[in-house]
Amino acid sequence: MVLNQFLLLSLFLFCTGVYGALVRRNGVLVLMSIELMLNAANLNLVAFSAFYKTEISGQVFALFVIAIAAAEVGVGLAIVLLLYRNLSSADLDRADSMKG
């Protein structure tokens, strides 16, 4: 088994996630990009775990990450929903009332 191909895929996913999280203006899409990053990390964990065959904890960690990501996206969507209610748009640039 070759490790590289998984790592490259993970890298690609992560970069896509970072790009999306920084550039997209829509809150929902930003959340989705964050999920991409989390899954890139998951992929790494699983890949390493499979590569070193005696080690199972990577896969266990991946399960934890999935569960926590689900909770996180629940909170995130609630925030986006409130944003939408208050500003009648999910555009993150308009939520800048904390500027100094």
Binding site: V18, L22, V23, L92, D93, S97, M98, K99, G100
Partner: protein, 735 residues
């Protein structure tokens, strides 16, 4: 009971969460939960005290709290006489305050919140008194501070009240830094331990260099000053009167302010050795206490607010306690803490009753002649006043006398004189308050009436206690209190052990490793001796458990006696208790009566010249006292406001006031030669340039950073990723 002592603070602490979570559902009934919890704690404390009197054997329970490779921290309870006494005092006063608040706070808009905070306040103080290590002490110390902040600014809608809370909190922070530093120093010098007994025994046994111990004791003293209202950090205490009156009673009698005194009593080994208390003459601890008792008492004279009179009186009495500990009269100081708790709580709750009757005013100018209208309040307040003034056989007499006698016997003449001065002042200002409130004609506009029973019963109980508790340590009662509550710690003589280097040197390295590595540090070739002394220090700490089983050691009273022992011999250290002295007692009673007579002459008979305050030096003295010796002004205007402004403002101020002033001053005197140069070149160009430059730089930096705070979450994210990327690059390059 002592094995289950942790339950005593746990019950009210649990109540805090119950009231906080279900407060809305229970409404006003939540007060009964608080009272029930404190009642349970009181019962447990009483059982514990009862058992203590029979047993008198220190009970320690602890569990592992944190653990790492080479060591661990244990946390637990330590129930000895001092803790037992404090448990009884705190639970009694707190329970009575809880009951009293039922009526006093009825219909308050944050009733549930009040009872929740009161529970936590009591719980933290109870935890403080049974803590067996300095970390737990620090934690509950901070909790007490937090709760006092919540309660002092209970009515925070009024800006004055929230400011008072802030002042208390921030002033206390100053001292807390001292406490933290002190604890850290002690941790390292006592052989990496937070355990209070071990620290005490290490401090007395000579394993710690005296200079180090002095620094640690000074740091702890800063904490005592802020918590127990000693000069110059007492400024928060009178302002803390902004809180509800029952809270003031609790803060001033049983919790909060006595925490500092308690800490000195608990870590007495450190203070005794650090300040060389046994040597007599004068030391910093006694000096702070002595100055505080006179300054506090003098300021009480000019207050018109009854609660403020009592607040300054508390400061003065805390001064007595600290001075007592400073002169080595450990039992006297702790006994005064004990008696003071009851009569001061009685006085405060009495003041609350007065305000309840007189339309929520505390101003004595709007009272007067209340003797007939409020007979119970009058009686209890008089008992409290006489107890405070030290009239026998009331509580204050016995404890105050013991302190003065201790100062005499331990050769602290200045403290004894200050004590007598403060005693005459105490009697006089309390007499003034008594006459202004209860005698003469009524001067207010309300219709005073006696307060309801639920308020007067706690006050009456406290007044009754104020009469009897003093007898506990009277000569004809066999000095029972002194037998029940005493400071004792096992000490091993390690002064000049083995190589007999200078006593401190041998001790500097209490940690074994340090001594092993010592070769580098101790270039004088003394490290061999150091190593052995250090090793012995550790062995001593370990062996303590065994020694305790053997019991019966010789009792010593001073460090000199410890030094005379054979090296390595273990003894029991106890500060000496001085028995009743008829001379001191007689003079203190006489002086108290003189104070009361002066007050009678001025305020009851009105014989003093009317315009006394208009002539110097009385007028100057009066102004000085009204201005509180300008200490508040210094702290608030000088220190707080000075640091609150931004750097640019500060620079501007320095430029305008100091530099300009100085330069202009020089310019005026040497006008002909230097003025043009000084003004145009030096001042305008160099100095202004420097300070304007500094200001502009600050402003510019602020402006630059301000742009970063654009409120756009994704821009923040970009910076974050950028920083992480750089970090990753650095790690990759280094690895």
């Amino acid at each position: 009971m002592a094995h289950w002592a942790f339950l005593i603070p746990l019950v009210p602490a649990a109540t805090y969460f119950v009231i906080l979570l279900f407060g809305k559902r229970f409404g006003e009934r939540c007060s009964y939960i608080g009272i029930g919890a404190l009642g349970a704690s009181w019962v447990m404390a009483a059982i514990n005290a009862y058992q203590w009197i029979d047993r008198r054997e220190i009970v320690r329970e602890s569990v592992e709290w944190a653990q790492w490779g080479s060591g661990s921290i244990r946390v637990g309870t330590h129930v000895d006489g001092l803790a037992t006494m404090m448990l009884v005092v705190v639970t009694s006063v707190s329970l009575l305050v809880h009951i009293y608040s039922l009526e006093y706070l009825r219909g308050d808009r944050r009733y549930t919140h009040y009872y929740a905070a009161l529970s936590l306040f009591s719980a933290s103080m109870l935890m403080l008194v049974i803590a067996d290590n300095t970390l737990a002490l620090l934690t509950s110390w901070e909790l007490v501070g937090l709760c006092s902040f919540m309660l002092i600014s209970h009515w925070w809608e009024d800006k004055d009240n929230s400011n008072a809370g802030l002042k208390a909190f921030i002033t206390n922070r100053v001292g807390d830094v001292g406490l933290i530093v002190g604890i850290i120093i002690l941790y390292f010098v006592a052989g990496k331990t937070f355990d209070i007994d071990t620290i005490n025994s290490a401090a007395l046994s000579g394993t710690i260099r005296h200079g180090t111990l002095l620094i640690a004791a000074c740091c702890l003293l800063a904490a005592v000053c802020s918590k127990s209202g000693q000069v110059p950090l007492h400024i928060w205490l009178p302002d803390a009167m902004a809180g509800p009156t029952p809270v003031s009673a609790l803060i001033h009698a049983a919790t909060m302010v006595v925490a500092g005194v308690y800490m000195v009593a608990r870590l007495y080994g450190v203070f005794f050795a650090g300040f060389s208390i046994g040597d007599g003459g004068m030391n910093l601890l006694a000096l702070v206490g002595g100055v505080t008792m006179v300054i506090g008492a003098s300021m009480a004279f000019v207050q018109n607010d009854i609660k403020r009179v009592l607040a300054y009186s508390t400061i003065s009495q805390l001064g007595y306690m600290v001075a007592a500990l400073g002169v080595g009269a450990w039992t006297g100081g702790v006994f005064h803490l004990f008696t003071h708790a009851f009569f001061k709580a009685c006085l405060f709750l009495g003041a609350g009753s007065l305000s309840h009757a007189c339309h929520h005013t505390f101003d004595m100018r709007e009272m007067g002649g209340l003797r007939k209208k409020m007979p119970t309040t009058f009686l209890t307040f008089t008992i409290g006043t006489l107890a405070l003034a030290g009239v026998p056989p009331l509580a204050g007499f016995w404890s105050k006398d013991e302190i003065l006698n201790g100062a005499r016997a331990n050769d602290f003449p200045i403290i004894m004189v200050l004590g007598f001065v403060a005693a005459i002042m105490t009697a006089a200002y309390m007499g003034r308050a008594l006459y202004l409130i209860f005698f003469g004609e009524y001067r207010g506009h309300a219709h005073p009436h006696e307060s309801p029973k639920v308020m007067m019963v706690p006050v009456t109980i406290l007044a009754g206690l104020a009469v009897v508790v003093g007898l506990l340590n009277a000569p004809f009662a066999d000095y029972r209190f002194g037998q029940w509550v005493k400071f004792e710690v096992e000490v091993e003589n390690l002064y000049g052990a083995e190589g007999a280097v200078a006593e401190g040197e041998a001790a500097a390295a209490a940690e074994g490793e340090h001594a092993a590595e010592g070769a580098a540090a101790a270039a004088e070739g003394e490290h061999a001796a150091e190593g052995e002394a250090g090793a012995e220090g550790e062995a001593a700490a370990e062996a303590e458990g065994e020694h305790a089983a053997e019991g019966e050691h010789v009792i010593v009273h001073s460090i000199a006696e410890i030094k005379e022992l054979a090296p390595g011999e273990t003894v029991l250290f106890e500060p000496e208790e001085h028995k009743f002295n008829i001379g001191v007692a007689g003079s203190s009673v006489a002086i108290g009566l003189v104070g009361l007579l002066i007050a009678t002459w001025i305020y009851l008979l009105r014989k003093a010249p009317k315009n006394l305050l208009l002539v110097n030096p009385f007028r100057a003295l009066h102004t000085l006292l009204v201005q509180k010796y300008y200490l508040d002004k210094l702290a608030v205007d000088g220190i707080a406001k000075g640091t609150a402004g931004p750097v640019a403002d500060g620079s501007y101020w320095v430029n305008q006031k100091i530099i300009d002033g100085a330069v202009n001053g020089v310019g005026v005197t040497t006008k002909k030669y230097l003025a043009p140069f000084a003004y145009e070149q030096l001042d305008q160009f160099v100095v202004d340039g420097l300070y304007n430059g500094l200001g502009e730089t600050t402003k510019g930096l602020g402006g630059a950073f301000r742009k970063l705070q654009n409120g756009r979450i994704q821009r923040y994210g970009l910076w974050l990723f950028f920083a992480v990327a750089i970090l990753a690059l650095v790690v990759a390059l280094l690895a």
